[in-house]
């Protein structure tokens, strides 16, 4: 993967003009194309531009102040106080207050929030929880908890689209979402005048539009990175951004831990990496990537079909169902997993997500949302459906937690995948967050008027 990153850097360097770097230019419209829905939660690109969180994640993956300027844990991480930045306004001019932040958070998760209570006290927002929440600042930086003004819908704008971010919602018609610069943004006006996001564009069409100058930023799925390089696209690639993993049910026949362990031994990660993801993934047996911990080599990634057979022991001929969350490449990967499991004697079928009545195994991508290993692990566990506080941050204690979780074989890490984008020649200063999402508020256009 590092070779590809080097190639990407080389291509970027080749595209540089032989003049000095200037300050970013103000103005212009950035044309972005995406395969999915830019307003989907979580992960929609437009949401990241329109809405801010109490905290944010920087390029280096660290949590930093956003709508909150500082925060403080108390009572062993059972109580948190977040002090709000003063004089920040929503796009419609409403002042951001602790009351409307609490209303926004309540609207997001209602009774299913990670905390027990959230309340407004002066210019602070107080979170109380029965279980300790040591990574609450990191959690609040995720896309899930961006703050939108509640109860301000006037029909012209979709629900939850009035935020404080660098861009504001203008329109969404004919599959094109138009955002305009927020001149009064607390972070300062963004360099771009507007961002035009074309939704539901196939990767083929995106690349075509990039090549003829109709798009400035397009998606490059990990499995097509090699193809993008062959096509000489100018590509920016993140580090490991999401974990491809199997989550395994512990109910029914799979309540047998040996069967779950058998599944883990039957998986051929190398074939998955080489065939489906074109060697663009980083094979892993651990939840956290090696860059964050240094200990991932302790988790085996080797396929051991004999052991898989031995552990299964002819225990089950009952049909299992595997589904994949995501696009066609995930379906292909699920089919590959099913082949691996059939080799180990499992009777398994691949079902499409949503159609299956009972799901035994799910193939999914789990975003890496922090470069701090403790919070990163805690957020991953939460997304994998097994929330647990990670109170100690030393490699030895993190290893113990990972070992305990992975020995239960309810989560089977497979590959770490990067995020990549094809970038047009006029785009400048585009950076990616640790989770691979593009920081468009800091980008500018070379030929802006």
């Amino acid at each position: 993967m590092f070779r590809q990153i080097a190639i990407s850097c080389l291509l970027t360097a080749m595209a540089l003009p032989a003049v000095a770097h200037t300050r970013p230019h103000y103005g212009g419209t950035l044309r972005v194309e995406v395969e999915g829905d830019p307003w989907q939660r979580p992960g929609g690109l437009a949401r990241q531009l329109v809405l801010d969180g109490l905290t944010a994640t920087s390029v280096d993956g660290n949590v930093r102040p956003a709508l909150a300027v500082e925060w403080k844990p108390e009572n062993d991480n059972h109580r948190w106080q977040f002090k709000l930045r003063s004089d920040v306004h929503f796009h419609n001019g409403t002042l951001v207050s602790s009351t409307n932040v609490v209303a926004a958070l309540t609207a997001i998760c209602g009774a299913g929030c990670p905390w027990t209570t959230v309340r407004a006290v002066g210019s602070s927002v107080i979170f109380l929880s029965d279980a300790p929440l040591p990574s609450l600042p990191e959690l609040l930086a995720t896309d899930e908890y961006r703050i939108a003004l509640s109860g301000a819908e006037d029909g012209a704008l979709p629900a939850g689209s009035i935020g404080t971010g660098p861009f504001q919602f203008v329109s969404f018609s004919n599959g094109v979402l138009l955002l305009a610069a927020n001149d009064n943004c607390w972070q300062g006006r963004p360099f771009l005048d507007s961002v035009e996001i074309h939704a539901h564009r196939s990767i083929h069409d995106q690349w075509l539009d990039l090549s003829v100058g109709r798009a400035d930023l397009v998606e490059v799925p990990a499995e097509q990175l090699r193809h993008a390089h062959e096509q000489r696209l100018n590509v920016v690639v993140s580090g490991p951004a999401s974990l491809l993993a199997l989550t395994v049910s512990d109910t029914g026949v799979l309540s047998n831990a040996n069967l779950r362990a058998s599944i883990a031994y039957a998986i051929d990660r190398s074939a998955l990496s080489n065939v489906i993801f074109q060697k663009q993934g980083e094979i892993t047996g651990s939840l956290l990537p090696a860059e964050l911990t240094g200990y991932s080599f302790l988790f085996s990634t080797e396929r051991d079909l004999n052991k898989a057979h031995e552990l299964r022991g002819g225990a089950s001929s009952q049909q299992l169902t595997i589904v994949a969350e995501g696009g066609p490449e995930m379906q292909l990967a699920a089919q590959r997993m099913a082949l691996n499991l059939r080799d180990a004697g499992f009777n398994i079928q691949v079902a499409s997500s949503g159609a299956a009545q009972h799901v035994d195994i799910t193939l999914r991508k789990i975003a890496l949302e922090s470069s701090e290993p403790g919070p990163a692990l805690e957020l991953m566990l939460r997304k994998a459906g097994s929330p647990a506080p990670v109170l100690e941050q030393t490699p030895a204690s993190l290893y113990k937690i990972e070992r305990q979780i992975l020995d239960a074989h309810m989560v089977i890490p497979l590959l770490y995948l990067p995020c990549a984008y094809g970038v047009g020649g006029r785009v400048r200063d585009l950076r990616l967050r640790a989770d691979g999402s593009p920081l468009l508020a800091g980008a500018s256009l070379e030929d802006a008027p």
């Binding site: 102040p65 972070q187 090696a290 240094g294 030393t394 030895a396």
Partner: protein, 454 residues
């Protein structure tokens, strides 16, 4: 000896004879020096591994207890392979001291040590295998950063931090936080007070115990503006006597005037008043140095686009394109105006024409002129490309139309967001934005950068 040689001027053979004993002693001294250096280096190299070796041996012995085990070491880190024998030796010694004897392959127990690392630290992992059971021990140590390379050049740039942003946490009064208010212009008054421009404010600070401090009476609010740029810009220009200043930022002009306070001992009252108003007047970007009485060169600023339009007053003979930065340089035919166009081209306006300057590909969009006693006497201090999180400044000279590096890059440990010459031209001010780490906002500091001759 020197006088003798001068008077007599002996032939080379005779000099060689006279120098022989000295050469021998010199050789011995040289060898001794080399040996001492080698020993010191080896000692330093070994000493950095002592602590992790001792800690790991403790952990291993705690798990394994006294006995024998086969020890293998695998290097999966940036530690040089040359260091592995020393690490192995230290580890074996430490294990032996705790009753664990590193033995050959015949031992039933095995200790597999992996020298690993992550983004923050070295991680040494021992897998201790006893029969079917494997247990794990880990120790960490600090990951040293490689030293920056140095270069021999005409000048050596030095920086001195003169101010950095700090405020006290409201939630925890004992915790110092770094403010994330961006600073975009700074200057010093005749009394040595520091004038800063931040979004919405002009602040004047007096130096006291512990550095510069602000009092409410010396914080002046700027009028509300329609546009607040993401990278706001401004300039603070002192009058020649330093008793007044003019400050400009997007669409706003401020006048600062000094009147001695009635009670000079009152630390909080420093005698400045500041009045601001909306203005599209050109900014005084450069003082023409040949005559301090001459009016400064002023440039019109496009507040919506954050650059100078290219229209300057008094006009220069050449027609200027829109630009970000400008510096005046002495040239054989008078003065030249160096500008950094918004298209990234660095051009020199001299003798009525605009000429492209080469060798500026690594420049960022900020530069300033610095007058030193080194080289040609005037260097251009230019920021780096700004792409990196850690920016740098470097001195260049412009003998013709190619910028020639005159110093090694000076690391600024952050991104240089503004750069301009001090009134005497002997140093430049740099504003640096620093990433402050987890849970902290970016902080800002003002540095003074000067040049020493190499």
């Amino acid at each position: 000896m020197r006088n003798t040689v001068k008077r007599y001027n002996p032939p080379k053979r005779e000099i060689d004879e006279m120098m022989k004993p000295m050469k021998s002693w010199g050789l011995i001294a040289g060898l001794a020096g080399l040996l001492a250096c080698a020993v010191a280096r080896a000692a330093t190299a070994t000493s950095q591994w002592e602590q992790p070796c001792t800690e790991l041996a403790d952990e291993i012995a705690g798990i394994l207890g006294p006995g024998q085990a086969q020890l293998t070491i695998r290097n999966a880190s940036a530690v040089s392979t040359d260091e592995i024998p020393a690490i192995r030796r230290l580890l074996e010694q430490d294990l032996k001291a705790k009753g664990v004897q590193a033995s050959g392959a015949e031992s039933a127990n095995a200790i597999r040590v992996t020298l690993s690392e992550n983004l923050r630290e070295r991680l040494w992992v021992a897998e201790i295998v006893e029969g079917n059971e494997t247990r794990v021990a880990m120790v960490t140590s600090v990951l040293e950063l490689a030293a920056a390379p140095s270069a021999a050049d005409k000048v050596i740039l030095q920086k001195q931090q003169i101010w950095h942003s700090i405020w006290v946490s409201d939630l925890d009064p004992f915790r110092g936080f770094q403010s994330d208010d961006s600073v975009f212009a700074a200057n010093f008054t005749h009394n040595g007070e520091l004038v800063l421009m931040e979004p919405g404010f002009i602040k004047i600070a007096r130096h006291g115990f512990g550095g510069y401090s602000f009092h409410g009476a010396n914080i002046f609010e700027l009028p509300q503006r329609q546009l607040q740029a993401r990278d706001p810009r401004g300039i603070i220009q002192l009058s020649t006597d330093g008793k007044n200043f003019k400050a400009f930022t997007s669409g706003i002009e401020c006048d600062g005037t000094f009147a001695p306070p009635a009670d000079p001992s009152d630390f909080k009252v420093i005698g400045w008043t500041v009045h601001c108003h909306a203005s599209d007047d050109p900014w005084p970007i450069l003082q023409i140095e040949s005559s301090t009485a001459a009016p400064p060169l002023k440039a019109f600023f496009n507040a919506a686009r954050d650059y100078f339009t290219g229209v300057v007053t008094p006009s220069v003979a050449a027609e200027l394109p829109p630009f970000y930065s400008a510096a005046l340089l002495p040239r054989p035919d008078g003065a030249g105006l160096l500008i950094d166009g918004i298209d990234g081209k660095v051009q020199l306006a001299e003798s009525g024409s605009l000429k492209t300057v080469s060798g500026t590909r690594d420049w960022g969009s900020d530069f300033a002129a610095l007058h030193s006693a080194c080289g040609t006497g005037t260097q251009i201090i230019a920021s780096g490309s700004g792409e990196a999180i850690t920016d740098s400044l470097r001195a260049y000279e412009l003998p013709a139309l190619e910028a020639i590096p005159a110093s090694a890059p000076l690391a600024m440990e952050g991104t240089v967001t503004a750069l301009w010459s001090e009134p005497d031209g002997k140093s430049v001010f740099a504003i640096v934005r620093k990433a402050a780490g987890p849970g902290r906002a970016d902080s800002y500091e003002v540095d003074r950068v000067s040049a020493n001759c190499n």
